[in-house]
Amino acid sequence: MMQREDVPFLPRGVRTCFDRVRETEVLLGPERVLMLDQVGVAVLGRLDGVACLSEISHALSQVYDAPLDVIEPDVMAFVQDLVEKGMVHVRPR
């Protein structure tokens, strides 16, 4: 099970790009295309291979001026879903 201290990162073969035809950010990976909303872009933009899930949630809570207990479950669920799809990997800190 994923921990708050785990560090998420985009593995090789997964990358974000701006889709000029649909005018949206997308996440591309093996046999998958995910259209990203603002939240997705914000979370994935902070996957630097250094910050852990807890730190990412804290940072986003400050940027969006939203309570941590609202932000954190969303971040964890979003990342967990991508981990199950093989689009994000996590490593223990």
Binding site: R12, V14, V21, P30, E31, V33
Partner: protein, 361 residues
Amino acid sequence: MSDRVDPPMAMLAELTHRCPLACPYCSNPTELTGKERELSTEAWADVFRQAAALGVLQLHLSGGEPASRRDLVELVAAAREAGLYTNLITSGIGLTERRLKELDEAGLDHVQLSLQGVTAAMADRIGGYKGGFDRKMHVARVIADIGFPLTLNAVMHRANLDDLQATISMAQHLGARRIEIACVQFQGWALINRAQLQPSRAQVDVAKAAVAKAVEELRGALVIDFVPPDYYSDFPKACMNGWGSTGLNVSPDGTVLPCHAAETIPQLSFENVQDLPLSEIWYNSPAFNAYRGTDWLPELCQTCDRRDIDFGGCRCQAMAVLGNAAAPDPVCRKSEGRAVLDALLEQDVHEIAAPEYVYRR
């Protein structure tokens, strides 16, 4: 449904029909395109640029065996330059360590390696190519060393469906991130060998339970996609996610198809990228518009609550089994055509001694 036609997301580029393997389940057409009619490097590069401009995000380089193209590295470089996520679908035969390194430098994003069996005896028998399995295992090791993300594409049928557990274990052993457990779909050459390839109901039941268990146990470690044998399903698959909705295929000579078996539908004619722009073909060609959306669907499908789930299923299967491409997919339990499919299935599984495979050579 809306009348708006969305841009395509994915393109399958069948670079060549040439292939060193002779798999009895090959889904390519029974009439193959010769090397002399294949598109040139520059023509493919132009198709890739057009596809990206049209909205394609993912490119699947397939065949035949794409490594049979001597310009494969250049084609990958051209695809990446066009901005496409580039996936190579290969048996591994023809890929040396040096060539894989060149593909890495060219920017190849992902490799999908086919698997004919988990032992040399089985794999080489199915592929009809002695030594193929050992070469594939070598290629898989090089893929892992380079670090390409790997999907194992295991084609399953009567002879190897009982090896499902070992197949999943092999994906883990090879460091694959993903496995496609694809039960044979009966299109093209595979139809000739249907009786020999058709699994039994007992095999299918065991396989489904094993897949469900593995999906749970390996969640987060291995992505498992299962394509069930659809003669045993109650409802059809959403073939191509709907005709002309999401993806397109370009055959070796530049013919643009809504799905790779579409040429089996005799009343359709298909345009070629050498004659018309790709976007013109996608949006306006009669072949792409023939079964696009749901307005064309027969009454049974129009009034069905699965209309927007499966879009009436696979046109080529309706053609192959019923001789009518506009009929509901005969897999559907609600359709009249199901009786025809059931009769074929009955015949397949009661074949006392299945005849030998007819290899594709």
